[in-house]
């Protein structure tokens, strides 16, 4: 089992080699992961918006964006630029603080959770012991931001949207956490790295999705509800609440909400990949690759390739889930609020509990397969 490259160590060693003091070298390293996460997460969210347009266009027998760059790939940039240069309007009687802070809180909460997404053994910002739990905890902050926005907008549609967002995220956090708990139970750890490690060894058959099919479905449904994606996009239901909590927002603040929702979606898809689809595991193992190239596992080239492969595999899995989410959004109608809550409390919660119990029982019976 290879531990892969240690970017921090190499970076610090390189700086020290150039003649920088160890303290300064560590200080210089500190912002790098954060900046890269900020950059890449934003990039992935932009790609997600482009995919949303293209896939929805294909579903609806349209062409979609095609003039802004090849295949319209620059359309997210155009969106961002347009929203950046727009005037930021605040309604006259809105609560200034809540109105401005709402979108910030949402985006901050989502971005913070990217900290625990692993792309390889050492390609993760921080391997926290509480890992996945951090995400569940932090994701509860986002609805507070939505509530702030809904309440602070001084608009009845916004208020209804904010309240819906709060009700929805509270209802779906419980089954979501229970589904994650079953995975954590099998891995004996909350750390995302350990969860992926536990899925290695049997190729595709080792993935959690086979051992946790029910949990996978519950997680996916709950994650879609958390991301407010159709069929669960009630907080911003266009036909009912105009745009829900976003109604009064424009320009940069709107962009933050928009980015927040796509960042959240990408994050959820990444976590599906990590929790259920084997994370950075690829069908071609790094060992075999090194064998073909006649290189030892410690060779830097192999390490770089392994790192790239891990990132690519995670992204491929995540974007496959994203594709499914987009396809779902443009196929199904929206559920009603009471049906949404019914589904959350009366169906998903009992099933998730039963799944947890089942996992515990199976773990006791077959410790070899279900992680002893």
């Amino acid at each position: 089992m290879t531990t892969g490259i240690d970017l921090q160590q190499s970076f610090v060693q390189w700086l020290e080699g150039v003649g920088v003091t160890p303290g300064l070298a560590h200080a210089l390293w500190l912002p790098l992961p954060m900046v890269s996460v900020l950059t890449f997460a934003t990039l992935w969210a932009l790609v997600a918006t482009w995919l949303e347009r293209k896939v929805s266009a294909a579903v609806q027998q349209r062409i979609g964006p095609e003039y802004a760059g090849p295949l319209g790939m620059l359309i997210p940039i155009a969106d961002v630029v347009k929203l950046l240069v727009k005037e930021n309007v605040r309604p006259a009687k809105a609560d200034g603080w809540l109105f401005s802070l709402g979108p910030v809180v949402v985006v901050m909460a989502v971005l913070l959770a990217y900290v625990i997404v692993p792309f390889g053994h050492n390609i993760v910002i921080t391997d926290l012991g509480v890992g996945i739990f951090l995400w569940i905890a932090i994701s509860s902050i986002a609805p507070i931001g939505l509530l702030m926005a809904g309440y602070g907008s001084n608009n009845k549609y916004s208020l209804l949207g904010g309240l819906r967002a709060a009700a929805q995220s509270i209802s779906y956090e419980v089954p979501l956490a229970l589904a994650v708990l079953a995975v954590a139970m099998m891995s004996n750890s909350l750390s995302t790295i350990d969860i992926v490690d536990q899925q290695t060894g049997y190729g595709i058959l080792g993935w959690n999705v086979w051992r946790q099919p029910v949990g996978f479905v519950i997680f996916w449904i709950a994650a879609l509800a958390e991301c407010e994606r159709l069929p669960f996009d009630l907080p911003e239901a266009e036909e009912e609440l105009v745009a829900g909590y976003q109604t009064e927002y424009g320009a940069v603040n709107f962009m933050l909400f928009y980015a927040g929702s796509y960042l959240n979606l990408v994050l959820s898809c990444l976590l599906v990949a990590v929790l259920y689809l084997g994370g950075w595991e690829s069908p071609v193992s790094v060992d075999a690759l090194a064998g073909w190239l006649n290189l030892s596992l410690d060779n830097p080239l192999v390490q770089v390739i392994a790192g790239m492969l891990g990132i690519t595999m995670t992204l491929i899995k995540a974007y496959f889930m994203l594709f499914l989410a987009i396809l779902l959004r443009w196929t199904v109608p929206r559920v009603r609020i009471d049906q949404l809550l019914d589904l959350g409390w009366k169906f998903l919660l009992p099933v998730a509990l039963a799944n947890l119990l089942m996992t515990a029982a199976l773990k006791l019976t077959f410790p070899g397969v279900f992680g002893g």
């Binding site: 036909e239 443009w330 199904v332």
Partner: protein, 393 residues
């Protein structure tokens, strides 16, 4: 013992006239208790254009271009009723061929109208995609209209005694192609929509209107038929030549939004079947003006007969509406579209009262949405199928 009670004040919220799902410019003042609807009051008149008053100083031919703006999605029906009213009053005969052309046009228009009901209805319950699919088929209907009448929406095609122009050469084949293409497409919609569990949950048992209520509120069209009343003016009034064709009145008994969906989908199929039969039985065949046939078979040609004309007699621009009064109605896609005409032996009607189906059907909305959820307002409003152009006139 005193009970601690939490009580929320009801919230009055304004939907429209610029709300995304208010189908134009309807305004609803909705009283909400959380997500529950306590009351709903429709406010009308944002698209009022004095259509009835305008009719009082226009001759029939002058007025015809206006009428397609009542129900701008089922335009042929407004033209049909505008010429039917003076026709019936003056007892103008309509050639068989003209009547067949009218039926074809009316049923095409019914398909177009129902298609543009299906898309927004699904959008109202949250599924945007069918909107694009229905436009695909609706475009073809409008292409057919364009070929025959020169206009896609505001055709100005019907005339007292017939239609303005005969069908162009090749149109019949194209229309047949459309029918053959369209029927499988309805199955495609069904596959996409009908059995979707979320859709079923959103529309089944929502907005239920009982048979008695439907009759008492004066409902008509699919609203009435979905509540278990087998009432279709095409069968009841035997107007035009609908009796020549083999077709069924679509009806359902549940009275909810889903029943209305089923009825409308069934009507699209029936309309396509009526068109297919009408194209086959079109007196004189698929020729433009039958000129070639007439010339080749000499002056005593059987094709010169009355039934093979597209218009009985070119109606004069100063066609006088005789003294008398009369109520004329047709089965429009939204329901019973009627005109109560009072003639005064003048070129203008003395009174031109329109009975728009959407206006009458809309009255029942407050009763249907009371006690439902906010999201149900949109589903129910969508299922009523209103066009503000004809509601406000």
């Amino acid at each position: 013992m005193t009970m601690i009670e939490t009580r929320t004040d009801p919230m009055v919220i304004n939907f429209g006239p610029h709300h995304p799902s208010m189908h134009g410019v309807l305004r609803l003042m909705v009283t909400l208790d959380g997500e529950n609807v306590i009351d709903c009051e429709p406010v009308l008149g944002y698209l009022h254009r004095s259509m009835e008053k305008i009719a009082e100083n226009r001759t029939v031919v002058q007025y015809l271009p206006y009428v397609t703006r009542w129900d701008y999605l089922a335009t042929m029906f407004t033209e049909a009723i505008t010429v039917n009213a003076p026709e019936k009053l003056a007892d103008v005969p309509v050639p068989k061929r003209a009547s067949y052309i009218r039926v074809i046009m009316l049923e095409l228009s019914r398909i177009a109208s129902h298609l543009l009901w299906l898309g927004p209805f699904l959008a109202d319950v949250g599924a945007q995609t069918p909107f694009f699919y229905i436009f695909r088929e609706r475009e073809m209907v409008y292409d057919l209209f364009e070929a025959a009448t020169g206009m896609r929406m505001m055709h100005n095609y019907f005339r007292v005694g017939g239609v303005a122009a005969d069908l162009p050469y090749g149109w019949v084949d194209k229309c047949e192609d459309f029918c053959n293409y369209f029927l499988p497409k309805v199955d495609e919609y069904e596959r996409l929509i009908t059995d979707n569990p979320i859709f079923r949950k959103r529309v089944q048992g929502v907005g239920t209107l009982s048979r008695e209520d439907a009759i008492n509120w004066g409902m008509s069209g699919p609203m009435l038929r979905a509540s278990g009343v087998k009432w279709d003016l095409r069968k009841v009034d035997h107007y035009e030549c609908y009796d020549d064709f083999d077709w069924e009145v679509q009806w359902a008994t549940d009275g909810d939004c889903f029943a209305r969906y089923v009825v409308r989908l069934g009507e699209m199929r029936q309309s396509a079947k009526i068109i297919q039969q009408a194209l086959k039985g079109l007196p004189g065949g698929p020729y433009e003006n039958l000129e070639a046939k007439r010339i080749s078979s000499g002056p005593k040609s059987e094709w010169g007969g009355f039934d093979y004309q597209f218009i009985s007699k070119k109606s004069s621009p100063t066609f006088k509406i005789p003294k008398g009064e009369h109520y004329v109605r047709v089965e429009a896609p939204k329901g019973e579209l009627g005109v109560y005409i009072l003639g005064d032996d003048s070129v203008f009607p003395w009174r031109w009262k329109i009975r728009p189906p959407g206006f009458i059907n809309l009255q029942v909305l407050p009763q249907l949405v009371r006690g439902m959820k906010v999201a149900d307002i949109m589903a129910i409003l969508g299922s009523i199928d209103i066009i503000m152009g004809e509601v406000d006139r």
